[in-house]
Amino acid sequence: MNIPSNILTLILGVALTLISLWYGQNHGLMPVAASQEASEVDGLFNLMMTIATGLFLIVEGAIVYSVIKFRRKEGDLTDGPPIEGNVPLEILWTAIPTVIVFILAIYSFEVYNTMGGLDPMASHDHQQMMAEETMESSQLLAMDNSRLALGLGQSPEGEQTPPLEVNVNGIQYAWIFNYPETGTVSGELHVPVDRPVKLNMTAGDVLHAFWLPEFRIKQDVIPGRESLLTFTPTRTGQYPVICAELCGAYHGGMKTTITVHSTEDYQQWIQDNTFAQVETDGDVALIGDR
């Protein structure tokens, strides 16, 4: 009985590992990945799913096995074995989760850094430019410290194509996109594929949150402050833009689309939409200022 149970444990362990590894890669829970950031996050999520599946099977397995195997027989009034603890076992199940969360924390840190979350210069560009016009450099430093970056900046890796900058204004219950390069104003976001996009975001009334599920990124949009979101679309197509912070009764209706164009299509879109803007520009600015 001894040897078979050892082999059984081994087989169970191998099966558990294989199932976890397989499910971690094939859960199919995430929507399409349409940005560089999305594939980073999905890699992290797959690892977390693998570990979670393994732990889930072990613990639920132990519970179900106990319920089947260790049942009290009718009329049996005796107690179970008086085991009050087991120090090596307890050290083991303290150490393993510690190692797991350590690995997850480091991996998450790496992913977050790659996504540009720790970009030291992140969102300063805009304020710096404004500040440089009006202030001495000592004041500038003070200003920098008090206004740290919010959101995702440039990724420290790879080539640094100058990003496409878009100013985003969130108001109840719409998003307004302003392209400073061309003066285009739109209620939908249009971007070219494979070029970094940098959104400078603020809100006109209450808190909103800018969420692109297919891009796996989200950042609150805060009245009176500027926040920032940088990402690189990798897949053409049309995807939802969703407000993810409760902003009033029609919060659920506050959505629009982001269209990722090929470079040529994007140029075409810009051309088609720059012309029509001149007269509507003022109106939109008014809404934004309210």
Partner: protein
Amino acid sequence: MEQVHPQRKWQDYFGFSTDHKVIGVQYLVTAFFFYLVGGAMAEVMRTELATPDPDLVQPEFYNQLMTMHGSIMLFLWIIPAGAAFANYLIPLMIGTDDMAFPRLNAIAFWIIPPGGIFFLCSFFVGAPQAGWTSYPPLSLVSGVWGEEIWILSVLLLGLSSMLGAFNFVTTILKMRMPDMDIHSMPLFCWSMLATSALVILGTPVLAAALILLSFDLIAGTAFFNPAGGGDPIVYQHMFWFYSHPAVYIMVLPFFGVISEVLPVHARKPIFGYRAIAYSGLAISFLGLIVWAHHMFSSGTPGWLRMFFMATTMIIAVPTGIKVFSWCATIWGGKISLNSSMLFALGFLSSFLIGGLSGVMVASVPFDLHVHDTYFVVAHFHYVLFGGSVFALFAGVYHWFPKMSGKMVNETLGRIHFILTFVGFNLTFLPMHPLGLQGMNRRIALYDPKFQAMNELVTIGSYILAVSTFPFLINIFWSLWKGKKAPRNPWRALTLEWQTSSPPIIENFEEEPVLWAGPYDYGIDTESVDGDEEVDDMLAEVAGSS
């Protein structure tokens, strides 16, 4: 009094009493009433969400229901229900006759019914609709009086919770029977120490935030209102400084309940007493330094997001210790699958899922995707329903014979469990993929591509609603016609089982005897002083009488 050992009359439960047992039952029944109210609101919301369009109720009303559902379930159900067990059990478990401050205890309870009714009255002036988090500026622009009532009610309930916490700590530390040192008291008392510390440290900060918010709302100040130069992010920090620990305030007491229920019905000592006791304190301490993980996508700079990610993930370690210890407790035991044990095992299997998704949402890059989606809704319902509420029912079935002197009907109890377990998982499991796929939370209208899964969730929630009926029938029927409960129906070793069911007014007929450790099952226990009556009771526990 004419009787030698006077019992409470049923009328006593409807008036002002300083008896901790009466107050405990009053807490529990009041909390359960609000559970039904909050649950009814959830059912209206789920019915609305059965279709993508806002066709059943106005979106404004949906947001009111959503706000009230969250606030009621947290402040009027889970937190008072934890206090209910604490009030009822602590003096009995440590072998004393009442709480340290009985009158304060009664006052703490009597704040709750008027507070709760005041809160419900906000529907007459337009209930708050900024969510239970009440983030400004939205909370400042969506109806003044509903919001103000919300603030005042939460302040009142917070006060009640603090009065209770001071009482629990004092009682546990100062009123244990002479022979009981701190390492031989039941684990439920440890969990209430950890809980009370959080209540005492966290609640004042929430109160400060709400008072300032109230000034912004009524007097037009601008502490948090960006229109006047205020900072809405500061509110979020102050709010979560209490409200994240509040999650532990809501779950730690029920960890304690589980540590009591499992050993008795598995006939084994608790596995790793000290590890469970200290991990509760560790959770309590770490719980104070994780609050900004609710704000990863908010106004939190990158390095701070990393700090709070690390602290949050570390909480998985003490929590894991508890879960593994509970599994090891039932492993190799002699399990009776009665209603109490079923709910305890339901707790273990559901809370695990909430814990695993908890580590996931602690990871900043992943949280940036799922924050404020149904994934998070699924996560916290697995913790607060799968965790707290399952354990709460385990506790109710376990101590009902002690509280009422009547046994419950096990068949109805099992039906209750099966309906709850199926309904719960059907309601909340599909919310994980919904959130990952792109459904945000707190919305009355949603993308039609999510309809099929939402229908499933709505059906699950109806099963959950139905599951309360066998429970209610069981309770009323058992009170009326149930079999009389003996002193110690589960053959348990904690001290509340040494007295009659229900206990007499001053708890114990004579000085209680520390007959054994609280979980010394299977260990040959003989009372030290050779008291015959105690020996008889011990023999009964050991099953040899």
